[in-house]
Symmetry: C4
Subunit: 235 residues, 4 copies
């Protein structure tokens, strides 16, 4: 078996397994959320199939697509060799175009997650950034979690909105207006961690603001927290 | 075994199993919620028995009734053949009359669910529609989730209130005033999905409104989301 | 084995098992809640031991006490026969005096439950009755859930406050001020059901009131709901 | 095996196991919380390793450090004997310095817990003490749960803030501003109980205040509750 086939098997395993973190932390109901991972060194990604319940997911059902979201089950290498694998008879997630756009335009990103987690989506519905008032937010997000534009599914406008918003932010999470959070990471696991932490801070800051105003943390301290967490602590 | 007996066994299995989705998503406590399914092609439905805990439900306990909610354990076909099955020694859910009214009056409906899920019921207690401010609501509900009239149990007034409200709405969910949500679908699974999504959007919009006003989505965009989800995506 | 020994074994089994409903519905944390049951026909009750984790409870650990809360491991019958059983080397719950007072003063009560469930306790901390604005409340509580007096542990004042409040109410639940709910029933299972429903309606009415005023249900309709549920439906 | 080695094994087992209480009560997400325990009679403590998921924790992974947070795998006794044990190839939690400072400065403390539990952290973000308006708070905390200063990770300022705040309070919990709760106890289990109860009362008082002002409990009654719980009831 080629190294590419091994890599695809490993990423499928990991992407499949990580969906259990979305249900564990109650970030998703029914089939409303998805994880993807890049196949490093190739114009390929792996993503959840559409409409399959989280309980029923298997690694073999994870769909391999190119970076335009088209399912692919073989490639021909520069030396003319064809490497192939089985794709399931399932469509990739209806959010595949948005994931693919991120991989095409952010080469440093190896994983993308989309959910409609309750508190993050509640901020998104008001079109409000989550202010950075927790040391945990300084660590993970290095500032506020920004809102991205309202965008309809069907073309690149969701993907474009994600990328344009994240380019100007330390945050690995963006709240797409009236829609919900998308998160990125160096691999699928890091993107899932960002989705979990995004909902956690969305909830904590919401609860705090229900009875008054959280105390601000000054920007130099946020920068110091973020720098330490990314560099010294070695996220 | 006749095809009708096979169908009854299959619908009982499915209706029984789907109650586990109500507990998984915490839409119900104790025995306060129920799922039913139509037997296609017959004036029959299958519903949860009254007073049985969700943990203890078995397919054989699901009660087969006619479309007036009367338990039935045999029918005579046009050719004079009698087809029979076992019904449990249990009463059908005390909400059976409402389910039956829906099946009598909405022939396209194959499944009905009733819960008192917390956030949906909280909107129902204020008699307030849930505004459509999430793309997920546009997809699933095609507009606001409407409130139905206050109605007492005991006659057809709950069923009548459900049907009259849903006839004028894209939504598969209605919030019966001071009572709780009823949802419909092409089969029992679709009605359960609608119950799960109804509570999810009820909670998210509630949380969003706690700290301000969610941004509206204009009607043309809601129509576009709903149309795509029902047709292109193929719900 | 005598019939009394059989009854004690059965009530211990049931009281033990019912604690799992308190954790299932998240009405309790750590060891902060307890269930008791009367031994019918005797001046005896069975209650949770103090300080034991819910995971570790066994039927044999349930403490048999008299109706003043004193552990008892034998009685002498009118015919001079002594019937004995094993009691664990554990103290009964620190709330035993309150349970015992209820059994002494409300002969129709066969089960008592105490929790500090979040939403019910939040109403108790404000000293506010929960208004009857849900049909489910009409069914189960027949009106508002009343607040009882502030009372310190150590004598009969908690038990007295419970009994005086419930005597003037349809409700099987009372919210002891700044403390938490106590519920009663014809047996331990009914008291647990009342504790579950009390938290459910406490939460739903709380959530409803966060964004406005729930619509009232008029008293004749509440009376009709309660009457039907207690009599026709046969609680 | 020496008695010290036995003690280390027992404390590792207990500290490992207690992390399951943090997840059970949803006080932590991902790896964001930690438990430690003192090795009685030695300048040693045991703490969670950094970055390991709660599901994957084993007793052998718990890191033994000195009371400055430096990993240690042997000591030499007064008689010149060397006692050694295996430490994992893992760093101790990034919060180790704060735990160690508490052990150095509060000799009566045998266990420390840190979480970012939602409701406690929400109070911390506003810099507000939780008022003592529940009898359960009187029992466990003997008054309000105090806020500690804003402090950055990296030196002793978090530990110093914890100790200075707790020295002037009955409470075993402190809410570090914009950060989250730290709790102490006579051993690791007591500190975990304090973390569980801290979140429970943080949530209940929050919910109560959402719809009005909780009724105060006068100080003499709080003192009576605390005294009884600590002494008579024998916490």
């Amino acid at each position: 078996m080629s190294s590419l086939q091994d890599t695809i098997a490993a990423v499928r395993q990991e992407v499949c397994r990580l969906h259990a973190e979305l249900t564990r932390y109650q970030l998703v109901v029914w089939t409303a959320g998805n994880v993807s991972g890049r196949i490093p060194g190739h114009e390929l990604m792996v993503i959840k199939p559409s409409g399959v319940s989280y309980d029923d997911l298997t690694p073999e059902q994870m769909v391999v697509t190119d970076l335009h979201g088209v399912p692919v089950d073989s490639i021909t290498t520069g030396t003319g060799q064809t490497i192939s694998w089985h794709n399931p008879a399932l469509s990739p997630s209806s959010d595949t175009a948005a994931h693919a756009y991120v991989y095409r335009n952010m080469p440093e990103v190896g994983g993308v997650v989309h959910t409609h987690s309750t508190y993050a989506t509640a901020w998104a519905a008001r079109g409000e950034d989550i202010p950075c008032v927790l040391t945990m937010m300084g660590d993970e997000f290095g500032g506020p979690i920004p809102v991205g534009p309202f965008a309809l599914i069907g073309d690149d406008s969701i993907g474009h909105g994600i990328v344009e918003t994240l380019k100007h932010s330390n945050s690995p999470a963006v709240l797409m207006q009236n829609h919900g959070p998308f998160t990125i990471g160096k691999d699928a696991r890091a993107a899932v961690k960002a989705a979990v932490m995004c909902e956690e801070v969305a909830k904590t800051v919401h609860v705090s603001r229900q009875l008054g105003e959280p105390l601000p943390i000054d920007e130099a301290k946020i920068a110091s927290l973020f720098d330490r967490y990314q560099n010294v602590y070695g996220r």
